[in-house]
Each structure stands twice: as structure tokens, then as C-alpha cells.
């Protein structure tokens, strides 16, 4: 398939034009990175469609990106600070919770939209050819806007209250990439399963709720100590949250257990990609 952006001269097919073949896949299917790249514009369009649609007819528009973690942080502050008095380290609990919620909101909403992406775009899957991976990957992008807005607000707030973040703030892009990678693996697995089993959609709410409590959003990861830290790090989001707080709130840097998280995230991303690519050829038949 030639890149969609290259239009050959009208009405005449260059004799050197390649044959594009469609035959049953024998054995394992490889991921065609070049083709995926050729369709990057489509992925971009799908992402920008989702962004536009999200705030259409919403009077508050992007303010929701701030309001959501703000309201969440207020609730968490009330519950965890007043009644249980969880320590949030050097930062105030409010900024601690707001930072955690901003990251968590990206994770949970993006995971949700990646999971549902193929089914919500089923008319595309059954009527048009394109590398299917473009759909779940595009679903990873819109949440980044909200994350960016929320973190900017947090930074401004920190500046106003004179709590300047240290040099570690420069690692923010790294943690953002880590967050996206941590979303890809489970996202692709769930999206692929969802094509055939819509149960996934129903189970998702439960899953994400449990995951919330298994991640250091409302409480710091320092409540876990000793060897348990390595077990706790099996959840990659825990390290990502620690990373963001280290970069912004001078929280302790993620230690050695981060390696466990990185490994888990990488393995999940690899497995998700493999499963997706293997199942991809049947999507249009069973969706």
C-alpha cells in the first residue's frame, strides 16, 4: 500500500507500482511499522476528532481538565487528611493528591478509551482498510491535553506558593512517556479482548476501581516498605506516580523497584502488541 499522501498521476498507473497482496497469513504476523507510519495522519485525525468532540457543547470546555482532579483532590484531602492523617512527605497533601489524580485521570480515561476504541470505531474497522493499530494508539493522545493543562495549573500553583520544584522537573517528559507506555500494554490487551468479548467493557469499571486503590494516588507509596516494595512495583503505575511527584513535588525519587515496573510495562506492551497484531486480521469478521 503506497503512503496515502503520495498521489500518483491521475489515470495512469506507473508500471513500477508495486502489487499489494492479500492472502491468508501463515504463521506469525509481523508488525508493519512503515505502513503504520504512512497512516500517521489518520491516527492524528482520529485523535483530534476525539478532542473536538469531547468539548463540543461543553460550556466549561477545557476547564474540566482542571476541575476534575481539583474536586477529586478536595475529596481525598477531606477523607485521608482529616480522618486518617496519611503523610504526604514534603509537599502539602492537596498538591500531592492533585498531582496523583492528574496522572491517574490520564491513566484511567485513556485506558478506558483505548479499550473501547475498536468497538466505538467499528464502522471504520469493517468498511475501510488501515493498520488497525492506528485506532488504539490515537486513543492515547487526547488525554495528554488534559494532563498537560492540569500539570501546568499545578506548576503555577507551586510557583505562587513558593514551592519551586527542583531540577528533577526536567524529567517530566520521561515520566509522561513512561505513563503512555504503561497504558499501551493493558490497553491493547483489553481492546483486543473487547472485540470479541464485550464483557471487558463491563468488567472495566471494577478493574479500574481496584487498580485505583492498588496505586499510590491517595496515599504515598512509602506506606509499603521492605521487600514488599518490589511486589508493589509490579504495578507500573505506582512508579510512574512516584516519578511525577519526584519531578514536581520533591518527593523521594523512585528507587530500585522502578526496574521491576519498567520490566512489567515493557513485557505488557510487547504482549499487548503481539496479541493485537495476531488477532487484528479477524477484527472485521468478528467485531
Amino acid at each position: 500500500m503506497p503512503a496515502p499522501s503520495v498521489a500518483p498521476a491521475l489515470g495512469s498507473i506507473a508500471s513500477d507500482e508495486r502489487w499489494v497482496e492479500n492472502r491468508p497469513t501463515a504463521g506469525r504476523r509481523a508488525l508493519d511499522v512503515r505502513e503504520l507510519w504512512a497512516f500517521r495522519e489518520l491516527a492524528w485525525f482520529l485523535a483530534s476528532r476525539d478532542v473536538r468532540v469531547r468539548y463540543k457543547q461543553a460550556a466549561l470546555g477545557l476547564c474540566w481538565a482542571i476541575l476534575q482532579p481539583l474536586a477529586g483532590a478536595a475529596v481525598l484531602t477531606l477523607v485521608f487528611q482529616r480522618f486518617t492523617n496519611v503523610s504526604s512527605g514534603t509537599a502539602s497533601y492537596q498538591s500531592f493528591a492533585f498531582c496523583g489524580l492528574a496522572v491517574w485521570t490520564y491513566y484511567s480515561t485513556s485506558l478506558n478509551s483505548v479499550t473501547a476504541s475498536l468497538v466505538t470505531n467499528s464502522s471504520l474497522v469493517t468498511k475501510v482498510y488501515f493498520p488497525r493499530l492506528a485506532v488504539p494508539l490515537s486513543a492515547l493522545l487526547p488525554g495528554l491535553i488534559d494532563l498537560g493543562v492540569a500539570l501546568t495549573v499545578l506548576l503555577v500553583g507551586l510557583l505562587i506558593f513558593g514551592q519551586l520544584p527542583g531540577i528533577a522537573v526536567l524529567t517530566l517528559p520521561l515520566w509522561t512517556v513512561a505513563l503512555v507506555v504503561a497504558t499501551i500494554g493493558p490497553g491493547l490487551l483489553l481492546a483486543t479482548l473487547n472485540v470479541r468479548y464485550r464483557d471487558v467493557h463491563h468488567a472495566f469499571g471494577l478493574l479500574i476501581q481496584l487498580w485505583f486503590f492498588a496505586s499510590p494516588v491517595a496515599y504515598p507509596s512509602t506506606v509499603v516498605d521492605g521487600g514488599w516494595r518490589y511486589v508493589y512495583a509490579l504495578n507500573p503505575v505506582s512508579t510512574v506516580l512516584d516519578g511525577f511527584r519526584w519531578a514536581l513535588l520533591k518527593a523521594p525519587a523512585p528507587g530500585l523497584p522502578a526496574a521491576v515496573s519498567a520490566a512489567v510495562a515493557a513485557v505488557l506492551a510487547w504482549a499487548g502488541l503481539r496479541y493485537f497484531v495476531a488477532a487484528e486480521r479477524r477484527f472485521s469478521d468478528i467485531i
Binding site: N22, R52, R281
Partner: protein, 407 residues
């Protein structure tokens, strides 16, 4: 100029019916297959061969029509060609840029404006942003929605929506255009416009593959026709030969199209057919003789029954919608076997029609198949194929000689 650009080599496609949402074991199998490179052999529960050993070759610049009844495999063939789905066996190969139009307005989002949707849909069917921008004015003009281009399409009338959707697709510059039934929508004028656009595309030397129920449109646009039936390629050749064969074949084949009643309906449609006065059942009737539409129904318990037969032109215009209760007041019917017979006098023009069936009560619809039988009325249109009716109404003329030009 006769180099092939499409080559289909013994393509078969199997669909598994029924138990698609199989057991958890399948998931484990799927997952395991990736790790172990092995796939558990499952015996397919119920399979359907949508395509069976189909081969054909299309040269550059040819316009080929694909005809066949519902479920003949036409759409599946296009889906294999466009790589939307993988064949079960065989291979299809294409050369050049492919433009697939299996549906107009794929990916349109009702919340987005016309402008946003044009760019989005363009990207989906494979146009670059630059290309869309270059042809944007043309697209909007063709769709005739200039004033509304920055309005969300949810405020559009369905006609405007369709026009805009088709307009984007019509301006896609592809070497091979694959078009599936997109002309089956919209009003007559819009369809004429679409057909004209397709003819223009054809004249520009591009290769077209055109699936339609509209035999007339296929005949007008294509020099060559491929006829599929239940997944098999029956005939491939010059349009007239294949269309003739297709229309006359319906005489011998089983014409009592099976009609499925809605779940929970208190009846079974045992037969729905068209026959002539001599009892000859078929899908080709003579234009200048009455024909008879017959519905056999087994009613399982008493209901307020009504039966209605509709006859549409292939362009979608409704010519007849005759309800049984138009002439019979008594609706409550005891269980039993019924045969409803409707005699249609020779009023329709020669051409293709679809015959549909509705059965219901005052509250429910039990059966609604809008296009159950494709009926061809053989005969003379007297050069006016566009008209739906041929009534030969009586004209009266009064004449009185007048001397003109003198006072």
C-alpha cells in the same frame, strides 16, 4: 493499455456462524498461540463460504460491475480486494492506489461541522490533508452545502448529509475505485448526480469495480459484468450477456425467497413469490400482462392481521404499497393457513423492481422485508425507462379549425 491491475486468484472466504463468542478456552488458545506458535484446531461449529474459489482479472481502465442476489458474496469480494478482511484461501492482488467506497460517510461524526467531517472522512478514505484542501471548494460545491459548511452535521437534513458524504468520496483520486451500493441511498436527483459523477470517473480512465442491485445503473456504467451466486462466480463477460443470463436464471432457481419473521411473531411465512396468470413462478414477468404476488402464511394464534406488499423501483421510489385491509375490514383472524393473492394489473413500466412484504397487527410488525424479490418486467419502455408507470391513459382532444394570421 491492457495491463492487469486487479488479480483475484482462487479466493475463498469462510465465515463461522453462530457461536462467535466462543468459550474462554478460545482466548486462552489465542493467547497461548502467540507464545507457543501453535493454534488449537477447533472444529468450526457452522460455517458459511461467502466466496468459493473465485478468480478474475481486471485490466487498467475497465469498469466492471458485480451483480448477484443478497448473500452472493459481492461485498465480501470487495472486502477481500480492499484488504479489510483476509481470504481463507487464495490471494487477491491489486496495483495502484485503491479508493474504497463501501459506505458513504464512514467515520462522520454528528457533533463535528461539515468542514471538520470533510477532512476527517478524507483522511479515513485515504486522502492527505493537502489533497482535501485542494479539492475542498469542489467538494462543497458538489454537495451544495456552502452555507452550512461550518454547522455541525447533526443539524443537516439527511439529504445534505448524504450529499456531503458522497461528495468527499467522489473527489478521491484513486487508480482503482471500488464502489458498493452507495447509490442505493438518497433521492432520485442525487442518484442521477452520483451516476453522472461515476461515469465521469470512468471516462477519466480509472478502473472501477461497481457493486449494485440496480441492474440499469450497472448496465449503463460497465462494459463487463461478473455474476456471483452463493460465493461462486457464475459468469464473467460482456454486460448484456451476463445481465441476460442473470435475469433469466431467476426463472429456474428457487424464487420463493425465505422470509424471516421477527422473533416472537405468531406466524411463519411459508412462501412469498411472484407468478404469472398461468402459474409460472419466476422473477421475470411480462410487462403487458398482469402478474400475481402470493403470500402463504401459517398463523399460529389469533391476531389482528394485516398484510401489505410494496413495490419499489430500483432507484428507491415506492410505486405500490397495497394493504390487505384497504379492501377488507375484518382484521381479527383465527389461526390457520392463509394464502393472500394480489393481482397487479399491467401498469408498471418495463424494468427492475423490488417487491417487499410487511405483515403485522395494529401494534406490531411481524415481518418487514423491504426488498425480498428482485422483479424484472420484460417489455418495451418506448424509450422512456425513467417513468415508473406505463398506464396508457386515454387522451381526449378537442379540435376546431382556426384560420391563423388573418383578421
Amino acid at each position: 493499455m491492457t495491463s492487469p491491475v486487479i488479480s483475484v486468484d482462487s479466493v475463498s472466504k469462510r465465515y463461522l456462524l453462530g457461536e462467535q463468542h466462543s468459550s474462554v478456552r478460545d482466548v486462552v488458545d489465542d493467547l497461548g498461540g502467540i507464545l507457543r506458535r501453535r493454534r488449537g484446531r477447533r472444529t468450526p461449529p457452522n460455517e458459511l463460504w461467502a466466496l468459493r474459489d473465485v478468480s478474475l482479472e481486471v485490466d487498467e481502465g475497465e469498469a466492471v460491475g458485480i451483480i448477484g442476489r443478497n448473500g452472493a458474496g459481492k461485498s465480501t469480494l470487495l472486502k477481500v480486494l480492499t484488504r479489510i478482511t483476509e481470504p481463507t484461501a487464495g490471494a487477491s492482488r491489486t496495483r495502484g492506489r485503491m479508493g474504497a467506497l463501501l459506505e458513504v460517510g464512514t467515520g462522520f461524526h454528528t457533533e463535528l461541522t461539515g468542514r471538520e467531517n470533510v477532512f476527517l472522512n478524507g483522511a479515513i478514505i485515504g486522502m492527505s490533508r493537502r489533497e482535501v484542501r485542494r479539492r475542498f471548494d469542489e467538494i462543497v460545491e458538489f454537495a451544495a452545502v456552502e452555507q452550512f459548511i461550518d454547522t455541525p452535521v447533526k443539524r443537516y437534513s439527511s439529504g445534505m448529509y448524504l450529499r456531503l458524504a458522497f461528495a468527499v468520496a467522489a473527489h478521491l483520486d484513486a487508480d482503482i475505485m471500488v464502489v458498493d451500493e452507495v447509490l442505493a441511498v438518497g433521492d432520485a436527483e442525487f442518484q442521477r448526480k452520483c451516476l453522472a459523477k461515476m461515469a465521469e470517473v470512468e471516462r477519466s480512465g480509472r478502473t472501477i469495480l461497481f457493486v449494485s442491485h440496480n441492474i440499469e445503473a450497472v448496465a449503463r456504467l460497465c462494459q463487463r459484468v461478473v455474476w456471483l451466486d452463493r460465493g461462486h462466480l457464475v459468469l464473467d463477460g460482456p454486460t448484456n450477456d451476463v445481465v441476460d443470463g442473470y435475469l433469466s436464471s431467476s426463472l429456474e432457481s428457487d424464487t420463493g425467497a425465505p422470509i424471516e419473521a421477527e422473533a416472537g411473531a405468531p406466524l411463519i411465512v411459508e412462501r412469498f413469490q411472484v407468478r404469472d396468470q398461468d402459474g409460472r413462478v419466476g422473477m421475470v414477468m411480462r410487462r403487458n400482462e398482469p402478474f400475481i404476488i402470493e403470500v402463504d402464511v401459517l398463523l399460529q394464534h389469533e391476531v389482528d392481521l394485516d398484510v401489505s406488499v410494496v413495490v419499489d423501483t430500483v432507484r428507491g421510489g415506492r410505486l405500490l404499497d397495497e394493504a390487505w385491509t384497504d379492501t377488507n375490514a375484518q382484521r381479527k383472524r383465527p389461526p390457520g393457513r392463509y394464502r393472500f393473492t394480489l393481482v397487479v394489473p399491467p401498469v408498471l413500466n418495463a424494468g427492475d423492481y423490488s417487491v417487499g412484504l410487511w405483515i403485522g397487527s395494529s401494534y406490531d410488525t411481524y415481518v418487514w422485508v423491504e426488498s425480498a424479490i428482485l422483479l424484472h418486467l420484460e417489455g418495451e419502455t418506448h424509450g422512456r425507462p425513467e417513468r415508473g408507470l406505463q398506464l396508457e391513459l386515454r387522451w381526449d382532444v378537442d379540435y376546431e379549425p382556426v384560420t391563423v394570421g388573418q383578421s
